[in-house]
């Protein structure tokens, strides 16, 4: 196999970059905290014993910013892995959960949670309903695509159609309802981490474990699927079962992120491309690599959004879209992406 990378090296390098993103994320903001102070606060909570940290620094770093950074990391990891799996399963380097309509399907579920009043922004119920709607949406797109042949291109086209329709529905509903419990239209198109708290960390963390842990066993099957559906089936892969299973985990995870932080685009596309081009085509390596890439990308985008607006917060999805769009143009103009 053409790769110099191994799973331990990916975990070590990814872990170090993730720690750096966390320290940066909890340090910068409307009130700047030095890296040393931020590290002290974090170690004070993570290690036994008591370090002499100020209450103000503790409140900022651990009470406000840490859950926000962790939610960004966990959601980014899910979206990154989702992008990798979709690009592998659909054999399309541009595949992303937003492109194939899963984010919009999840939005319907999460918005329903807010609308019926059981959920406040970022609450557990919205995340659960988003996850359920994401999983159902993934199966719906798969089922519809199979009715017309099941080829990856048909899946993507069905997903685009369904996604555009549902996104319009969500936009219309969020504008028309005017309910303060319901996030405004910006959340449903460009996301937001304003409601992150430790409960959201726990719930999104659960879905991150389920999604990444659930998709990792598909790695070898997704490698074989790279042959194409016909050839993969001929060597013995149950293409239908593998696709439906992987999509269920992708839909579930993406849906949970939409319930927690809204729709944040381009993460899967960027993380998938970066992972495949860095560690090679094997999903055994690309899945963890894209988890780190997605996590760091979303955490950095949130950090940029918090400090880049000078008095207001730039929605995280705007940052990821600008950066992701620029990366896509770079890939195409440098012929690093065959389209």
């Amino acid at each position: 196999m053409i790769t110099r990378h191994s799973l331990p090296s990916i975990l070590i390098v990814g872990g170090l970059f993730t720690i750096a993103a966390v320290v940066l994320g909890v340090s910068v903001g409307s009130t700047t905290v030095s890296f040393a102070t931020a590290l002290e606060v974090m170690l004070d909570h993570l290690l036994p014993g008591d370090l002499d940290t100020s209450a103000q620094a503790d409140a900022i770093v651990w009470g406000i910013r840490m859950p926000r950074v962790l939610v960004a990391l966990l959601a980014g990891a899910i979206l990154g892995v989702a992008g990798t799996v979709l690009q592998g399963a659909l054999r399309n380097p541009l595949a992303d959960s937003q492109l194939v309509g899963l984010s919009a399907a999840a939005s319907v579920g999460a918005l329903s949670g807010y609308w019926i009043g059981y959920a406040s922004s970022g609450s557990t119920v919205a995340i659960l309903l988003g996850a359920a709607a994401g999983a159902v949406g993934a199966q719906a797109v798969w089922w519809l695509a199979r009715r017309v042949g099941g080829e990856p291109t048909r899946f993507i086209l069905v997903g685009i159609g369904m996604g555009l329709g549902l996104a319009a529905l969500v936009a219309t509903a969020s504008i028309a309802i005017h309910d303060p419990r319901i996030p405004d239209v910006t959340f449903w198109f460009f996301g937001g981490l304003g409601a992150a708290n430790w409960t959201v960390v726990a719930v999104v963390g659960f879905f991150a474990v389920v999604t990444v842990g659930g998709l990792f066993p598909f790695a070898r099957m997704l490698d074989v699927l790279s042959l194409g559906h016909n050839a993969a089936s001929h060597v013995g892969l149950n293409v239908g079962r593998v696709s439906a299973g992987a999509l269920a985990f992708v839909g579930l995870g993406v849906g949970a992120t939409v319930g927690a932080i809204g729709v944040v685009g381009f993460v899967g596309l960027v993380a998938g491309r970066v992972a495949f081009s860095t560690v090679g085509p094997q999903h055994r390596l690309a899945i963890p690599a894209s988890a780190f890439t997605g996590a760091i990308f979303v955490a950095l985008a949130d950090t940029i959004g918090r400090v880049g607006g000078r008095g207001f917060e730039v929605p995280i999805g705007l940052i990821t879209t600008v950066l992701g769009g620029a990366y896509l143009v770079y890939l195409i103009t440098t012929r690093r992406l065959a389209v």
């Binding site: 196999m1 042959l227 050839a231 001929h234 060597v235 013995g236 149950n238 293409v239 085509p281 094997q282």
Partner: protein
């Protein structure tokens, strides 16, 4: 003993009859070349034997069991299949692509010997560490053949295996197919090249408009009047001075 039994097989594709009442029995040790003009049903017959198409009537069985409806891993243990369309896969090296042929043996047996053996039989060992997408079309075809051999199924189905291959490699592939058949397997291969097919096949099946126009030894199938009727051109059949096999020339 490995066997293929095709009985009264009729297949329709998009409302058009692609195969019309095909009867065919193949035993272990045979290399059967399926020939015929474009649209005569060669690929459809192979896909039906592979269990990929549902017939209107009739059935295909391998070793006495119907192939249609088998789970993919069970079917893969009975037959391997080189598809007519070329595989497009990026990033993987040749050894990995060939190794996909051993997928159903993952975790059961150590596949590396099978991979190396299949690459050697297909003559692609020297390409083992190169990326698949960087190979020429012919090289990719040979790697795909190695993947099919790596599957180690008792029935090997090859749809246009010599497509994109130069003369030397085309003969090499057909020699490999003959060796596979000789090891108590069945190889069924479609071909547009009547001469390569006649030189290597133990039996030829000539299809015309979804029916078997003739089945038998190359000498009995490559009969000028029959070929002229089926292909719509005047042909002459001569005897190869060295091998003694029939050689078809136009005019």
């Amino acid at each position: 003993m490995t066997s293929i039994e095709v009985s009264e097989l009729t297949v329709q594709l998009k409302g058009r009859v692609a195969l019309d009442g095909i009867d065919l029995s193949v035993e272990a040790g045979e290399l059967v070349a399926v020939v015929g003009p474009n649209g005569s049903g060669k690929s459809t017959l192979l896909r039906a034997i592979a269990g990929d198409v549902e017939p209107v009537s009739g059935a295909v069985s391998i070793n006495g069991d119907p192939i249609l409806g088998l789970p993919p891993d069970t079917a893969a243990a009975r037959r391997s299949f080189l598809e007519q369309e070329h595989v497009k896969i990026a990033g993987f090296d040749v050894r990995s692509v060939v190794g996909f042929g051993a997928y159903i043996s993952d975790g059961v047996t150590e596949p590396s010997d099978r991979v190396e053996g299949a690459m050697a039989r297909a003559g692609v060992t020297d390409l083992a560490d190169r990326r698949f997408e960087e190979l020429s079309g012919g090289e990719q075809r040979r790697v795909s053949i190695a993947r099919v051999l790596c599957q180690n199924a008792p029935v090997v189905l090859l749809d246009e295996p010599t497509d994109s291959l130069d003369l030397g490699h085309a003969h090499a592939v057909m020699r490999t197919a003959r060796d596979e058949a000789a090891s108590h397997k069945i190889v069924v291969s479609t071909s547009h090249d009547l001469n390569i097919a006649s030189q290597h096949a133990t039996r030829m099946v000539l299809l015309h408009r979804g029916r078997i126009a003739r089945s038998g030894t190359p000498a009995s199938v490559l009969e000028p009047k029959l070929l002229s009727e089926v292909y719509g051109v005047t042909v002459t059949v001569i005897t190869h001075p060295t091998t003694g096999s029939p050689v078809v020339v136009s005019g």
